[in-house]
Amino acid sequence: MIVPQIVFWVMAVIAVLGGLGVIASRQPVRSVLSLVAVMLALSVIFLLLSAQFVFAVQVIVYAGAVMVLFLFVVALLGPMGEGTSHHLRFHWGLSIVVVAVLGAFMYAQLQGIGFRAPDKLDTTFFGTVEQIGTGLFTTYLYPFELTSILLLVAAVGAIYLSRGGRTASEVRRQEEAHAEEDNVA
């Protein structure tokens, strides 16, 4: 009876602390790892909310694949620390103001909205793999196929983008060679 509450509160605290870690960490690795923590916390909350399949997918795909990709990229790009910024001095203050305004109005939006009574549904089987599978392949087949095409497009795009281009050192070498040619000519 109290167990769901305790689980929820623990996970909520972890999630908020992770969120703060995401935006406040100096090193990007720590941001990514904080996000992993947030995702895992959220997945437990999904489980609490009868979304078993989504819980599994969140852990396996999101935290397990997408975040790993982020970590690979961070490893590839090497250590990057943020120095002090020379541009945009008012940006910090403005950002906080804008986000506060956004939050305030989002909250204001929610006032005066009622909710409708829940549908009649057998909660024992709610959110099971079987139910989601049936839904995906019958009523929601069209969005499912579209999503798969989207994935294909993203994959092709990523391959293309990572194909060509020269590295920074190669660019520098080419520019120096051109400068020498111009001097000689």
Binding site: L88, V101, G112
Partner: protein, 636 residues
């Protein structure tokens, strides 16, 4: 058949001009030599045919080809009026014009091929315009021909367009001609408003029989046009400058044809002038005054072409004097005679200029009687005709005018005053013509003569001169009844169906002034010898140097016009430029452009290039969208 012939007469020179214009850059010189004069001679043949028909049948033909404009009361046909007056003018234009264009074949031979073709294109264009002017059967086509003649004059005066003086002279001629065009156009408007007619036949039938305000206005406006085109006072300053053009141009346009268009206008409009007394008399007065003034200025000119130009101005004054008093046929006879001997004189001068390597200053001539015998003889005959020596045509034509002026009754002695002015002018004419002849031809060769052995002109230039000399000699036979009341008056009889018969008879004592003119003119011619050849007398200019200066400055007319009109217009244009052009017309688009660019520059600041700024604007926009939704929800 004659209808198409008349149209062909008009369009042949136009076709020639068009062909030469389109092919000027590639056409071979022999083709130009054929087409240029050829179309004019073909026109002359057509004119002869029309002449024969007119002599036989004595009917005037008003050929209407089609109706051009029919709008309410305004009905304008395309019609040509072929009567004795227009045939007379066409003979002068195509005949004398043909001779001059043929002469030009030789004179302009040193030009490049394209320039050569361009010259004959312009000449044919001029011939076409002049024919349109004299053949037109309604006021609109008259104006068209009138304006195109002015255009051709502009093109030909400025033929050597790389010379600033030529371009300035062409512009001056054109501007003054336009003043005349305005007079003519306003007269046409007035005629249409008053009498609702556009064709000559229509207008002359609808004129009032008594003098009145409007008919005088029309007469004066037409006179403005005539005065501008014929270079009479006060619109005369363009003619001497027009000598910048090549000599054949001076011969054709500024001696034989274009400047006589004013005389033609007054003659053609004689039904108007017979009624409008004041404008008619003003024409005579202007003519007489111009004749005298031009003769005085001609005495001090050193450029041989300028002497001839002022002489032309003076002789046209005589023509205006004649038609202004009502002696229309006399004026036209002098037009014909003047065409003969003035073209002859100009072409003779052209021969001299050509052999003197384009030198025109008479003070550097001399001794040409020995070296260019034929030209000298022809020039002498032309000069004597100009002075009015019996039996050359100039005597008959000038004495007809002076005799008619002397004999005219009524008008309170005004015709006799005009006669006196003409008489005085004749003496001065003798003097300046003599001066020209002795200085340029008879005396010993000047020490600074540019060519040691001047050669005679080639045949193509000599033959037209000789032809005109012959015409000058025998032309008097057309109207022997001049000055002495004996013999026939063929020109007057020929033109009588159009211009009417002279209303008064010559006085019995008319032979006295005639003889006096003849005698004193000849004496003046010979007197000049003593001053300019053997220098027995001092030049009159030594005694009165201020007079010499006054005449050389042409009575300061150019300076006066410059101060009155040119400076004023310049000032107005400059003021307009500063006040209107720069701030508003130039400034406004520039300012709009600058404002747009500034605005764009300001807007471009939003494209800072910083990703974070863009994201901030994103999120800010989302917030604003939320606010708007809230507002909508709150108000609904």
């Amino acid at each position: 058949m004659l209808q198409t012939l008349a149209l062909a007469l008009l369009l042949l020179p136009a076709a020639g001009a068009l062909v030469l214009a389109l092919t000027a850059l590639t056409i071979p010189r022999t083709a130009v030599r054929l087409i240029g004069p050829g179309v004019v001679w073909l026109g002359f043949v057509c004119t002869l045919i029309l002449l024969v028909d007119s002599l036989q049948n004595n009917t005037a033909h008003d050929y209407t080809y089609w109706t051009w404009i029919k709008s309410g009361a305004f009905n304008l046909p395309v019609n040509l009026l072929v009567d004795r007056l227009s045939i007379f003018m066409c003979l002068v234009v195509t005949g004398v014009g043909g001779l001059i264009v043929t002469y030009a074949v030789g004179y302009m031979d040193h030009e490049g091929d394209a320039s050569y073709a361009r010259f004959f294109c312009y000449m044919d264009l001029f011939i076409f315009s002049m024919l349109l002017l004299v053949l037109a059967g309604n006021f609109v086509f008259l104006i068209m021909g009138w304006a195109m003649v002015g255009l051709s004059s502009y093109l030909l005066i400025g033929f050597y367009y790389w010379r600033y003086s030529a371009v300035a002279a062409a512009r001056k001629a054109f501007v003054m001609n336009v003043i005349g065009d305005i007079g003519l156009i306003l007269a046409t408007f007035a005629i249409f408003v008053q009498y609702h007619q556009t064709t000559f036949a229509g207008v002359f039938g609808a004129l009032p029989k008594a003098d009145g305000f409007w008919i005088e206005v029309i007469g004066f406006l037409l006179l403005v046009g005539a005065v501008a085109k014929s270079a009479q006072l006060p619109l005369h300053t363009w003619l001497p400058d027009a000598m910048e053009g090549p000599t054949p141009v001076s011969a054709l346009i500024h001696a034989a044809t274009m400047v006589t268009a004013g005389v033609y206008l007054i003659g053609r409009m004689h039904p108007i002038y017979d009624v409008a007394f004041w404008s008619h008399s003003t024409a005579a007065l202007l003519g007489a005054v111009t004749a005298l003034v031009a003769a005085t200025i001609g005495i001090v000119q050193t450029d041989i072409k300028r002497v001839l130009a002022y002489s032309t101005m003076s002789q046209i004054g005589y023509m205006f004097l004649g038609v202004g008093l009502g002696a229309y046929a006399a004026g036209f006879f002098h037009l014909l005679a003047h065409a003969f001997f003035k073209a002859l004189l100009f072409m003779g001068a052209g021969n001299v200029i050509h052999s003197m390597r384009d030198e025109q200053d008479m003070r550097k001539f001399g001794g040409l009687w020995k070296d260019m015998r034929v030209t000298s003889i022809c020039f002498l005959i032309g000069s004597l005709a100009l002075v009015g020596i019996f039996p050359l045509v100039g005597f008959f034509s000038k004495e007809v005018i002076l005799g008619d002026a002397f004999s005219k009754p009524d008008q309170g002695g005004f015709p006799q005053v005009m006669w006196a002015v003409g008489f005085l002018t004749a003496i001065l004419t003798g003097f300046y013509t003599g001066r020209m002849w002795w200085m340029a031809f008879w005396r010993e060769a000047a020490p600074d003569r540019p060519v040691a052995q001047p050669h005679e002109a080639p045949p193509v230039m000599m033959v037209p001169v000789i032809v005109l000399t012959v015409l000058t000699v025998i032309g008097g036979g057309l109207q022997i009844n001049a000055g002495f009341d004996v013999g026939w008056r063929k020109v007057e009889d020929f033109l009588a169906p159009v211009l009417g018969v002279l209303p008064w008879a010559p006085r019995s004592l008319e032979w006295i002034p005639t003889a006096a003119t003849l005698l004193l003119g000849g004496v003046a011619f010979l007197l000049a010898y003593n001053i300019y050849v053997n220098h027995t007398w001092r030049p009159w200019s030594a005694a009165v140097p201020w007079l010499q200066r006054l005449l050389e400055r042409k009575y300061y007319a150019d300076e006066l016009y410059d101060a009155l009109f040119v400076r004023t217009m310049d000032g107005a244009a400059n003021a307009g430029d500063k006040v209107l052009e720069e701030p508003v017309l130039d400034g406004l688009p520039t300012d709009i452009g600058a404002a747009t660019r500034a605005g764009a520059g300001t807007l471009a600041l939003t494209q800072s290039g910083f990703f974070r700024t863009y994201i901030l604007v994103f999120v800010g926009g989302a917030a604003i969208a939320l606010i708007l939704i809230l507002l909508v929800r709150a108000t609904s």
